[in-house]
Amino acid sequence: MSLLEVRSLRAGYGPVEVLRGIDFHVDEGEVVVILGANGSGKTTTLRALSGMVETSGEVVFDGRSIAGARPEQVAQAGVAHVPQGRGTVTDLTVEENLRLGAYTRRDKEVGTDLERWYEMFPRLAERRQQQAGGMSGGEQQMLAIARAMMARPRLVLLDEPSLGLAPLITQGLFRTLGDMNRDLGTSMLVVEQNATLALAIATRGYVLETGEIVVEGTATELAGNDDVRKAYLGI
């Protein structure tokens, strides 16, 4: 059985329906990417999983239904969500943001994890006592990812991590995501427009077009698909 199983998911804002019944799944240890153009419904998909928009349909995580659950309940179930725009708590310091990431944990190893993520992202270590809102976009994206990992999640949802970042920084970021998946086995669901980088670390993928899934397959299949190549790889 899949870690995350989504069936006929619909979601929207008031009378406007954005997701028109989509099905997808993420297996344990996989990196799954959902590709889609601006406005296709990528952010809405992740917000639907986290209970931040009105939804209908089935969402089963780790054998339990989380459809209709509140955001904090989804987080407590083991799903970390790195929102579009990074969701930095600007008034807190970098370290406080990271500690907040461990809010759902009851164990005593939060300090150990903190050091581990500082090692992984030395930039954050240098700025641990600074107000998080003052950091650059790339640093805030690192913070958002490290903060999500502080929860020791089973599944991480990443909403366009490449948005607004310089190409070199984005490359480093995706390499780190790939490393994290390989070393820790954390499953990931990434929604992206940057198909090249996302498919490079993905196991499988889907293409979302105006709220419907139009193509699905392994990362290799998608990278070879003519429509995908035209729309997202610029070939």
């Binding site: 986290s50 931040m52 987080a75 725009g85 969701g87 930095t88 406080e96 809010y103 809102g133 003052g134």
Partner: protein
């Protein structure tokens, strides 16, 4: 010199009163981002409850503790029932809602407890020491001690505990806090409950030092408490204390030394605020929002 020191003492006495209520205002602002104009009247109402409990035979200190607990529950319920429906509204709407609460609590207090002044006894002996001609009252000492303990506990709660971190996170970015597993609803209720309990304590300690509890008891205090908080910074507990003290002392000295301003002494503390806010809009101890995108 003696006169000067006496006026400073008076100023401190009033200043700690403003600071106690100011602390409650800062707490709600820090944890929910709302300026609660009803803070004084909520304190008024819960002080009437303290008075009612003493009438039922409870010792004063126990009446204060019980009414603080009731105020905590009441504050949390107010957030849930009155404030929550306006969660998505503009700050202006919320200001109007808290002003509505102000009027409602004042009217309820008059309705339930009448208009004649009520005497609330002190929870400690009333003493007055003369030190070099300057009088030092036990009232002042108790208020200072309670304020110091409050500040310390509040600081420890906000800066040193997981709940405090969650409270601050919700105030700064509720959506992110929820995605990290924090129940924003619980935190908002907690913030209002704590502030209501602090306001209750302030009221129950202040009223015995005045001529009695009436429906107007808290209004003057609220104005000066807000002035102190504006001066110190709306998000800073230390600012509330220092700001309250400065306002209290400035007011007392003006009364003594500037007879020309008799009746309108209030313009001195407010002039002071104007100057400070022109030079430092976030207040003496407030924080500037750092944000880069």
């Amino acid at each position: 010199m003696t006169v000067f020191l006496s006026q400073i003492m008076n100023g401190i006495q009033n200043g700690v009163i403003y600071a106690s209520l100011g602390l409650a205002i800062v707490l709600i602002f820090r944890t929910t981002g709302i300026l609660n104009f009803a803070q004084g009247e909520m304190a008024l109402f819960s002080t009437y409850v303290t008075w009612e409990l003493t009438r039922l035979g409870l010792p004063v200190w126990l009446a204060i503790i019980v009414s603080m607990i009731l105020a905590f529950i009441g504050g949390a319920l107010i957030e849930r029932i009155v404030i929550r429906p306006f969660e998505q509204s503009s700050p202006l709407v919320l200001v109007i809602v808290t002003i509505g609460l102000f009027l409602a609590f004042n009217a309820l207090a008059q309705l339930f407890f009448g208009v004649e002044a009520k005497a609330l006894p002190r929870a400690y002996p009333d003493r007055n020491w003369l030190i070099g001609g300057v009088s030092l009252r036990s009232d002042t000492l108790v208020l200072i001690a309670v304020l110091a303990v409050e500040c310390l506990l509040l600081w420890a709660l906000l800066q040193r505990t997981k709940v405090g971190l969650a409270l601050r996170a919700v105030a700064s970015n509720a959506d992110s806090a929820r995605l990290l597993g924090v129940s924003a609803a619980t935190m908002l209720m907690l913030g209002w409950g704590l502030a209501a309990a602090l306001g209750c304590l302030a009221g129950a300690l202040v009223v015995p030092t005045t001529s009695g509890l009436t429906a107007g008891s808290m209004q003057g205090i609220l104005v000066f408490a807000f002035a102190g908080v504006a001066l110190g910074g709306f998000d800073s507990p230390i600012g509330a204390v220092v700001g309250g003290l400065i306002i209290g002392i400035a007011d007392a000295l003006t009364r003594q030394y500037v007879p020309a301003l008799a009746g309108i002494e209030i313009i001195v503390p407010f002039g002071l605020i104007l100057v400070v806010l022109l030079l430092r809009p976030q207040g003496l101890f407030g924080h500037v929002k750092v944000e880069r995108v």
